[in-house]
């Protein structure tokens, strides 16, 4: 399915947020995920099913003041 991930189009070959994180090579990293402007908590990554056209944000901590 086609998603927008971090502002760019992405072709997704899975079902859940966990699948997407794995596809992005980010499994095990500390991050937060938002789908269509709603946070998907870590506890729901395994069960939250992504849909065609979903907008996903994957964020992490970086240096800042």
């Amino acid at each position: 399915m086609n998603l927008t991930v971090n502002g760019d189009p992405h072709t997704f070959n899975g079902t859940t947020v966990t699948d997407l994180v794995a596809e992005l090579n980010l499994t095990g990293r500390r991050l937060a995920v938002e789908v269509n402007r709603e946070i998907v908590p870590k506890s729901e990554h395994d069960t939250h099913t992504l849909r065609e056209g979903d907008t996903v944000e994957v964020v992490h901590a970086i240096g800042g003041g």
């Binding site: 971090n6 760019d8 500390r30 991050l31 937060a32 995920v33 964020v59 992490h60 901590a61």
Partner: protein, 259 residues
């Protein structure tokens, strides 16, 4: 000084220096500078993960661990309340439910001056959602009181523009804010030198948050240690109570027994 602890949202800290993680040369320097600073509260920003990155690429929090430090996520780069609130919710999720956040809603890119209307709006929404909000603001005592009254756990007036190193330009305004405050007042933005930090503490501020002053020094780790001492010196000077200023001289040596 073991009894003189900084209390924010019910948690106590021995260090009154809060430090940022931005603009260092690399993660090693970040880690070393923070260690030299003695800071216990460390700010971070939230940004999109680089996709397609090397899975072994280290992350900031590998070098500045949430086990060791109180990580304070900020809303840097947010120019409206909605983005700031969204960022705080993501931060809370990222940090396993920790709800202490540094709120900043900026007005423009050139000055990074706080947009007060947006700041007040975001603060209210975040406090209502259970966040513990440390709020970056200007040096307006009316705004400071409003932010405190709505439940922000600390108010953080700027000393001068973010990253400017211009120091404490508004000592009188800070005094007005501190006179009325019942929550910690932490100067955030504009500190450039150790003496700037000392001045803020001598005025009675509860703490200082700085980043550029250390990261943009020629020798950041050395400057971090200097800032630690500067803030301790300023705090002790404040608690010691300065000598009065006088119009005329007052000799230090006795007048009797002159030959």
């Amino acid at each position: 000084m073991s009894e003189d602890l900084l209390t924010i949202a019910g948690k106590t800290y021995a260090s009154r220096l809060l430090i940022g993680t931005g603009k260092y040369k690399d993660f090693e320097e970040t880690r070393d500078a923070i260690e030299a600073s003695g800071a216990e509260i460390v700010t971070v920003a939230l940004r999109r993960t680089n996709l397609g990155q090397n899975p072994d690429e280290p992350n900031l929090l590998d070098f500045v661990s949430p086990e060791r430090y109180t990580i304070l996520p900020n809303t840097a780069g947010c120019f409206n309340a909605e983005d700031a609130v969204r960022t705080c919710k993501l931060a809370r999720e990222l940090l396993d439910g920790h709800s202490l956040v540094k709120l900043e809603v900026l007005g423009d890119q050139k000055t990074l001056y706080p947009n007060i209307a947006g700041t007040v709006k975001a603060a209210r929404e975040l406090v209502d959602d259970g966040f513990q909000v440390m709020v970056y603001t200007n040096d307006d005592p009316i705004v400071a009181k409003e932010l405190e009254d709505m439940g922000c756990v600390a108010v953080m007036p700027l000393g001068s523009l973010i990253g400017s190193g211009l120091g404490i330009l508004n000592p009188h305004s800070l005094l007005l804010i501190m006179e009325q405050a019942k929550v910690p007042i932490i100067v955030d933005a504009g500190v450039g030198t150790p003496s700037d930090a000392t001045l803020a503490m001598e005025l009675g501020c509860d703490g200082v948050l700085l980043n550029s002053a250390v990261a943009h020094a020629n020798k950041p780790v050395l400057m971090a240690g200097a800032m630690k001492k500067a803030i301790e010196a300023g705090r002790e000077g404040f608690l010691a109570g300065r000598m009065p200023k006088r119009v005329y001289a007052n000799p230090s040596s006795p007048g009797e027994g002159l030959i």
